[in-house]
């Protein structure tokens, strides 16, 4: 076991997969000498050369589509999109081409492309560089959505994503890159569709993912002081969703809080709660609660920015609402 940063774990996953499979290549903006804005691709150019670590012009729609076409034609591209916000520029290629290709061709071919990107608030980057857009991709059949919260999960899930035969939207979080965690030496993979119980508890189920996992774990410690034993489940992959793990936990605790940084309106949380209502309504002892991002464009000002996404206090308050019914 070594203690490494989230971005180093991602770097290791890319390096190991590129060493293992000559058909894996990476492509994106500034990923070469600079090693990417968040240094995830650091030193890969030196090791693999510019034929496999490919810098792009600012042609987002087309280099995403290039990734799709290269996947269809037999390689395993990992495309880096600097900010999830820029994915809006690429939506035809993602939603109409890549997501639908396997289906519309009657299953003739696989489309093993990984689109790595990052989202979330935290660095004073204002409205066009701070969004959490997973619900867009979650909504579209044909895409898998992965959002790891720890270095361990980041590495194991990225390796799985690269080996998967279908498109993966892999969304990192800008506030996680410098966080550290234990990562074993050598090979391991984390299957999609397996949530991870980051803290087990009996009184209430907190479902979350990505950076909010860290905030929920802090909230759980505060709740412990109030005598509340919270279970914190990190979904890790939104598509596929580990329904079994969610339902089992809700059946145990009878209370559900879903926490995410993304906008509350039309968010993944609402959909998950609907699923629980359909499948485990009579296990619930109180109405489920959403603690989610405010329905606003993220402001630049540091104090205002913070208000847009759930704080630890808001998570605690959301849990108390679920507890008190």
């Amino acid at each position: 076991m070594a203690r490494i940063k989230y971005r180093e774990a991602l770097n290791a996953a890319l390096r190991e997969e590129m060493e293992r499979d000559p058909l894996v290549f990476i492509i994106g903006e500034g990923i070469g000498k600079r090693g990417g804005s968040y240094k995830v691709t650091e030193n890969l150019l030196a090791q693999f050369g510019e034929d496999r670590v490919i810098e792009t012009p600012l042609s987002e729609a087309s280099f995403i589509g290039l990734g799709g076409g290269a996947a269809i034609a037999g390689t395993r591209p990992v495309v880096e999109m600097l900010f999830v916000d820029f994915m809006y520029l690429t939506m035809d290629q993602v939603a109409n081409q890549i997501a639908k290709y396997n289906f519309m061709t009657g299953g003739q071919t696989k489309v093993p492309v990984v689109i790595r990107t990052q989202g979330g608030i935290g660095n004073g980057l204002a409205g066009q560089h701070s969004q959490s857009l997973e619900a867009l991709f979650y909504h579209i059949p044909g895409l898998q959505v992965v959002m790891p919260s720890t270095p361990y999960d980041a590495k194991g899930l990225l390796k799985t994503a690269i080996r998967d035969d279908n498109p993966v939207i892999f969304i990192e979080h800008k506030q996680l890159y410098l966080t550290e965690g234990e990562v074993p030496e050598g090979e391991y993979l984390i299957p999609f569709g397996q949530a991870d119980i980051k803290r087990s508890g009996k009184d209430v189920t907190i479902l979350t993912y990505s950076y909010m996992t860290l905030e929920c774990l802090k909230a759980a410690e505060l709740l412990k002081e109030k005598g509340i034993d919270a279970e914190v489940i990190d979904l890790r992959t939104l598509v596929p969703l580990d329904e079994a793990c969610i339902l089992k936990s809700v059946e145990k605790t009878g209370r559900l809080v879903v926490v995410h940084e993304a906008w509350k309106r039309g968010g993944v949380g609402g959909d998950i709660i609907s699923m629980v209502n359909e499948k485990a309504f009579y296990s619930l002892e109180a109405p489920p609660v959403r603690v989610a991002g405010k329905n606003t464009t993220v402001p630049f000002n540091k104090n205002l920015e913070k208000l847009c996404v759930p704080s630890v206090d808001e998570i605690v308050a959301g849990v108390m609402e679920a507890i008190n019914g």
């Binding site: 087309s62 280099f63 589509g65 290269a70 269809i72 034609a73 290629q93 009657g106 044909g142």
Partner: protein
């Protein structure tokens, strides 16, 4: 020119013509629904261009894509079955006219989004480069697509990475109903190539031989690793945008002029010049008619996709 090669070209172009006529008939009978965009009048482009590549070279097609697939050697029975939404179609009835694709013959598919296939073609070019294979990609798209951002981005990507892609603009003079000259001031759309530092040329798209000759060198160039070329083939639709568009906005005199240079008429002239006799031409025509008749019969008699199987498949998604 070798008369056998010309006969082959004529057979391909005629197969496209008869296939489209049969598809329109099937549409009229209610056996095809949705959209159907005939390639009538444009047959020389797919025929000539695809004659210049190998069976394991890729093509990327468009919503008006039946011609490319036929020129690539697809089985017209499976194509017609796809147009009728049948289980036996290339895409098991999941794609239809706008999405015919066949990986086994390196056709990455038609596309319902104008310009949508251009980035995918560029990606296939990148895959070829990664695998150090000697294949090329022919990427077909329309004058309409030239005004879409991904055209410009993708041609530039192919240029800077020296990808083995030949970009072929099928300028049929209309983006749906909008005349090209109202939407682009260039006289030759291939002039866009200068903006990306690659060669470009414009050619008579109604003459399959001229198209073939124009594509040969760019394919060689692509295969040698020297990068992409942009080719404009000028042509004219014989009908409106799709089967239910009468094309009333197309001036009759201009249409008549283009029809006097119908790709099949031009090819028959080449055949006559090569002293292919009428009996041989008749033989080709009979063969094609039989092929298309069989395709329609096969498609009509093929089973619908199983609803239960479909529901079962999507359970796992």
């Amino acid at each position: 020119m070798d008369s056998n090669f010309l006969k082959q070209m004529y057979e391909t172009a005629l197969t496209i013509r008869r296939f489209e006529e049969a598809a329109i008939e099937q549409y009229r009978q209610g056996n095809i629904y949705g959209y159907l965009h005939p390639y009538l009048g444009e047959e020389a482009i797919a025929t000539g261009a695809i004659a210049a590549i190998n069976p394991d070279d890729y093509i990327v097609s468009t919503h008006r894509g039946h011609g490319h697939a036929i020129a690539k050697g697809h089985d017209v029975r499976l194509m017609m079955a796809e147009l009728l939404g049948k289980e036996t179609g290339y895409c098991r009835g999941r794609g239809g006219s706008m999405h015919v694709a066949n990986m086994k013959q390196f056709n990455l598919g038609a596309n319902g989004i104008v310009g949508g296939g251009i980035p995918l073609a560029t990606g296939a070019g990148m895959a070829i480069k990664q695998k150090k294979s000697s294949q090329v990609v022919l990427c077909f798209f329309s004058d309409g697509a030239v005004n879409n951002g991904v055209f410009h981005e993708s041609v530039n990507l192919a240029a800077i990475y020296h990808l083995p892609v030949v970009f072929i603009i099928e300028n049929n003079h209309y983006a749906a109903s909008t005349p090209v000259e109202n939407m682009n001031l260039l006289k030759d759309l291939s002039a866009h190539s200068a903006g990306y530092g690659i060669p470009g040329l414009s050619v008579d798209g109604n003459d399959a031989m001229k198209v073939y000759n124009a594509v040969i060198e760019p394919v060689k160039r692509a295969r040698s690793g020297a990068g992409p070329t942009l080719i404009e083939c000028k042509t004219y639709r014989h009908r409106g945008h799709h089967v239910n568009d009468p094309g009333a906005y197309m001036p009759q005199d201009i249409l008549a002029d283009w029809k006097s240079r119908d790709p099949l008429i031009v090819l028959r002239k080449h055949l006559a010049d090569a002293t292919v006799d009428a009996a041989e031409i008749k033989e080709i025509e009979t063969k094609v008619d039989t092929l298309i008749e069989e395709a329609v019969k096969f498609a009509v008699e093929s089973p619908e996709p199983s609803e239960a199987e479909f529901l079962n498949e999507i359970m796992a998604l």
